[in-house]
Amino acid sequence: MEPVVSFREAVCLLGRFPALAGVDLDVGAGEIVLLQGPNGAGKTTVLRACAGLVPVVEGSASVLGVDLRTDPKAVRHRVGLLGHHSGLYDDLTVADNVSFWTRAGRAGASDARAAMARLGLDGRLADVPVARLSAGQRRRTSLAVMVARRPELWLLDEPHAALDQDGRDVVDGLMVEAVASGATVVFVSHEPDRAAAVAHRTVTIAGGMTAAQDPRSGAPVASAPDGDGPDPDLPDPDVSDPDVSDPVGEVVA
């Protein structure tokens, strides 16, 4: 089966700085992969390159079957990126924002409503301008946009940051649900304990290169379809588990 992400010696420039100096990365369909490494290692750039936002200038790279060196734009509307920035209009309300970005992504109003409910934004918060939200509430709004758009590849840059305990559990639940519904997740986290509990495996990035790709066997796998949070007690070493891989097979083909 074709991998969702496949980087070989990928080099990306930010201005004249080689943020990625030769990254090898393989992510199979239905995996939850954690990227870790020191600050400035290039983890965020890996995510942005996967989203087709940073051009790959050397090596080879493909995401969801799209060659990033020839047509990076083709992959953009199929991925979801949660970055350090919220990607929200400050003067619009939570409901306005979710509605605009959901409609921009060709998803329906019911998706937007369901996503807001899932992130606990359907009550009083819905009509509050984003400028008046706390950092954690903004994060929830950005996540709601992402959930509503149903991307095939989730790219999350420190998704746990700024969230309270409940919010973190929701994020972990969302990742597991995303994979269960056929998507793939790559995320960056600086909280090894929580992240390792959700991730199937870990890839270490340092100095713009892949320092280590853990073998798949033995990686802990979360299974919490009800979304109540991760359950690290059920190891599932094989990601090509039929439950996970079948729906993805259609997506990639």
Partner: protein
């Protein structure tokens, strides 16, 4: 043949461009002699009533540098289009070099026009349609160069500059018509209107001037382009170095990774 055009390792000239320059210098001097002394003044028995007398001589400089500045901006626009189609750095370099040289020629056009105006009208600046549209064109291309300075990423800069280079040139005819209609009502006589019964020697001086001005443009372009090309190469060399440094950081970083990851 290739040795003739290979630039020196420590400069922007080649044997060929030096020969070009040596040929250009006497040509410029000869042109100035023709324009300022040898050609006859615009007067005499067959001259029309709005003849320019000795003042016609500045036309031989003004019109050629104006032609060179329009040529330069046309080259910028064409190179911008080619960059957008091909996405190769060379076209962007060409567009940038030509815009810069073009701005120099535009300033010369305005300066000679202003001198002409001072003698003919008694003021350094009149809102003559041609001069006005040239002035606007100058400001547009100064903006183009300012944009190039403001963007650091070479690919972003090339793309944005290419669009502006194209927009700026598309603007030239619109500015021309609007200014022409605007001032045309008030002032029919413009600086570039040469007598239709231009005689042989005047025509020769004008044509000679155009060839010389375009040749000077070409000579400046060779050096400006090669300078930019050398700078690009220097930056590319810096990129190799940066990649090596970055990779060294990786091997050093992987030892420190467990600590840094938390």
């Amino acid at each position: 043949m290739t040795a003739l055009f290979r630039p020196d390792p420590d400069g922007t000239s080649s044997r060929g461009s030096r020969m070009y320059g040596y040929a250009l210098l006497p040509a410029v001097l000869l042109f100035l002699a023709v324009a300022l002394f040898i050609s006859p003044p615009d007067s005499g028995p067959d001259a029309s009533e709005n003849s320019m007398g000795e003042l016609v001589r500045i036309m031989y400089v003004h019109v050629p540098v104006a032609v060179a500045c329009y040529t330069a901006f046309f080259v910028t626009a064409a190179a911008s289009v080619l960059y957008l189609v091909r996405k190769t750095e060379g076209w962007d370099t060409l567009a940038a070099a030509s815009a810069e040289v073009g701005v120099v020629f535009t300033v010369l056009t305005l300066a000679t026009g202003s001198i002409w105006g001072h003698i003919a009208w008694g003021t350094w600046w009149e809102w003559d349609p041609r001069l006005t549209s040239t002035l606007l064109m100058l400001v547009v291309y100064v903006g183009y160069l300012a944009l190039r300075r403001a963007v650091i990423d070479p690919v972003v800069r090339a793309k944005r500059a290419a669009v502006v280079g194209l927009v700026a040139f598309a603007n030239v005819p619109i500015v021309h018509y609007s200014v022409d209609w605007w001032r045309g009502i008030h002032q029919p006589a413009t600086i570039s209107r040469l007598d239709p019964t231009i005689d042989g020697m005047k025509l020769f001086a004008l044509m000679f001037g155009m060839i010389v001005a375009l040749a000077v443009y070409g000579w400046l372009m060779i050096h400006r382009f090669r300078l930019q090309f050398a700078e690009n190469q220097l930056e590319a060399k810096g990129l190799d170095l940066a990649l090596t440094e970055r990779r060294a950081e990786a091997s050093a970083g992987s030892l420190a990774a467990p600590k840094g990851a938390s």
